[in-house]
């Protein structure tokens, strides 16, 4: 039989194995991002464009009583970027599936969730970076936190937590669709209206009745209102708690669905 070259191997307990696999795949995905300068540029340029667009082009005509428009819109822009970033998650998973590397991982004696954890963690790091960039560009353009740094950090965590939860939805979509184009199209068709028919850029009260109703039941409105409570000090009537519960539910449901899907890929 073959030479016992397994001398460098160790046996890990199940939790250590799970953590190890997740970290190894996270590193792989982050290296992947760093090796694609054009993708990096896109990750940074697109959100900056949105800040400029809303700050300067729309900002002039927008009038929210008592609040500067950039203070109002920046939470919306950050949440929108965190949401759109999940399209990249779906595309990356689909590409891995079609390139055969998921087959490689699935035929290894590694944990079943490691590949998906690594994807979600790496993409959450990416989103955290993007949202941070938006914040600093916003500050340069006149954005000011109306509360304090702790509330600001809480708001940041809320957005990143939401990005994390939505990545699990994106992983499930990526595992379910046939190719990267489909993943991209599906993401855009769902996420574009989801972010615009919300309180992200205008108060829902200014919308026609039907859109207003849609905007008010939109979970993104809930999240954005929560972020505004933390950054502007406007009471949102429990949006923060509802957002946290929502993220936990989405994460639990879609991580379980995704792992199940991963096991049953053909």
């Amino acid at each position: 039989m073959t030479a016992p070259a397994a001398s460098g191997r160790r046996t890990l307990n199940p939790f250590a194995e799970w953590a190890n696999d997740s970290i190894v795949i996270t590193r792989r995905n982050l290296i992947g991002y760093l090796r694609q300068p054009q993708v990096l540029v896109f990750i940074f340029i697109q959100p900056v464009m949105f800040v400029l667009l809303f700050g300067y082009i729309f900002g002039g005509v927008m009038n929210i009583p008592g609040i500067s428009y950039i203070d109002f819109a920046l939470p919306g822009i950050m949440v929108q970027s965190a949401t759109f970033a999940t399209i990249g998650t779906s595309v990356a998973i689909t590409e891995d599936k079609n390139s055969g590397i998921l087959d490689r991982f699935r035929s290894l004696p590694m944990t079943r969730s490691g590949v998906l954890n690594g994807r979600v963690i790496a993409d959450t790091v990416r989103t955290a970076t993007t949202v941070g960039v938006i914040f600093f560009v916003g500050v340069v353009l006149g954005y000011r936190l109306q509360t304090d740094i702790l509330h600001g950090l809480f708001a940041y965590a809320l957005i990143i937590g939401f990005g994390f939860a939505m990545s699990w939805v994106a992983v499930f979509v990526g595992l379910s669709v046939k190719n990267a184009e489909a993943a991209q199209a599906a993401g855009f068709v769902v996420l574009f209206p989801l972010t615009f028919i919300s309180s992200a850029f205008v108060p829902p009260e200014t919308m026609p009745t039907v859109l207003q109703w849609l905007a008010e039941i939109n979970p993104l409105t809930n999240l954005i209102d929560g972020v505004r409570e933390l950054t502007l000090g406007i009471d949102s009537g429990g949006s923060i708690v509802r957002s946290i519960i929502g993220m936990i539910v989405i994460t639990v449901v879609f991580s379980l669905l995704s792992i199940r899907k991963y096991r049953r890929l053909t």
Partner: protein
């Protein structure tokens, strides 16, 4: 890792498959495949596109669940104890399953780290694999810059990081140029010398003939014949007399005249003027065949007696060629395959 209960009757086999079935919707990919691989041997699974080869390998490597039947690898049931199966196998599929953005070394390190190596151990293991597959110089380059042959070698290296006792090679040389293919064959032969059990699928009969000790021919999802290459060739009926006409336009005419000498299906190539007649053990027919053609004024550029090729075996057993018409270019653009007795 758990090893689970070992079945005493099937434990002696590296791979034991009994009545395996799998459908995809209406398509029946496997319809009762039986397969046994003895440890430290090479079995070639051959059949046309869509015969079920890849489905079989995917089930054996735990990527796909069967609908019915038994599949045991290294003594472990692929459905009941997939993780134990994964500890014992390596898989190289039709596409190089490596990350293009990582370097060759990073790819191998990643696989090692995912299977329990320490960071340092993984680095050493990666170096070992790079050296073995002659990729040391390219080790720090992103795989995106590799040639097709280099990718396949890296892919094979990745499937060997674990030192698996059983290796599945699913059409390992499809799409490679002859030189890369030859290199890969050498690597595969080395593995065999070291005692690795190999299950190899291929559409190229030449490849199975060159590498496999036993061949299982499958068609429409189940096995239709098996044996050593020589046994299979004997099954078709001994020797083949092959004549090459000076005027290829008379190929069909010549084939008609040689009908009485044949014990099976005459294989012709109207482009090259090649007529291959299975003659069984009646080797003396060669003189008679030449005389008949000569009398009809058909000039020959070559006459030879040879063993049947596996493609002729396949043709006889299934009624069609192993390779699809549009893909018959094969590794060398050559078919059928010449066999040296």
């Amino acid at each position: 890792m758990t090893t689970g209960p070992v079945n005493t009757t099937t434990d002696e086999f590296a791979v034991y498959v009994d009545g395996l079935t799998r459908s995809f919707g209406e398509t029946k990919a496997l319809t009762g495949l039986d397969l046994v691989v003895v440890p430290s041997t090479v079995v070639g699974l051959i059949g046309p596109n869509g015969a079920g080869k890849t489905t079989a390998v995917r089930i054996l490597s735990t990527l796909l669940k069967p609908d019915g039947g038994i599949a045991r690898v290294a003594g472990h049931d692929v459905v009941k104890n997939p993780q134990a199966v994964r500890e014992n196998i390596g898989l190289t599929g039709q596409y190089a399953a490596v990350d293009e953005k990582l370097t060759g070394r990073e790819n191998l390190e990643m696989i090692a780290q995912l299977t329990g190596w320490t960071r340092r151990g993984a680095g050493a293991r990666a170096d070992e694999m790079l050296e073995r597959f002659e990729l040391t110089d390219a080790g720090n380059r992103p795989v995106g810059t590799y040639s097709g042959g280099m990718r396949r070698r890296l892919d094979l290296g990745a499937s060997l990081v674990l030192s698996p006792s059983i290796l599945f090679l699913d059409e390992p040389t499809t799409g490679l140029d002859p030189r890369s293919r030859g290199q890969l064959w050498d690597v595969i032969r080395d593995l065999v010398d070291e005692g690795t059990t190999l299950l190899l699928t291929t559409q190229y009969l030449e490849e199975a003939d060159a590498l496999a000790e036993r061949i299982v021919i499958i068609d429409e999802g189940h096995n239709i014949a098996e044996g050593t290459p020589d046994e299979l060739k004997a099954q078709v009926g001994g020797d083949v007399i092959e004549v090459v006409l000076a005027d290829p336009t008379r190929t069909a005419e010549a084939a008609g005249m040689l009908e009485s000498f044949s014990v099976g299906t005459i294989n012709t190539n109207p482009e090259t003027g090649d007529v291959a007649v299975p003659v069984g053990d009646r080797q003396s027919m060669i003189a008679g065949a030449v005389r008949v053609l000569d009398d009809a004024g058909i000039r020959l550029v070559d006459v030879r007696r040879r063993r049947p090729s596996l493609d002729e075996v396949f043709l006889t057993l299934t009624g069609h060629h192993a390779e699809d018409e549009e893909e018959d270019a094969g590794p060398d653009g050559m078919q059928p395959v010449e066999v040296t007795p």
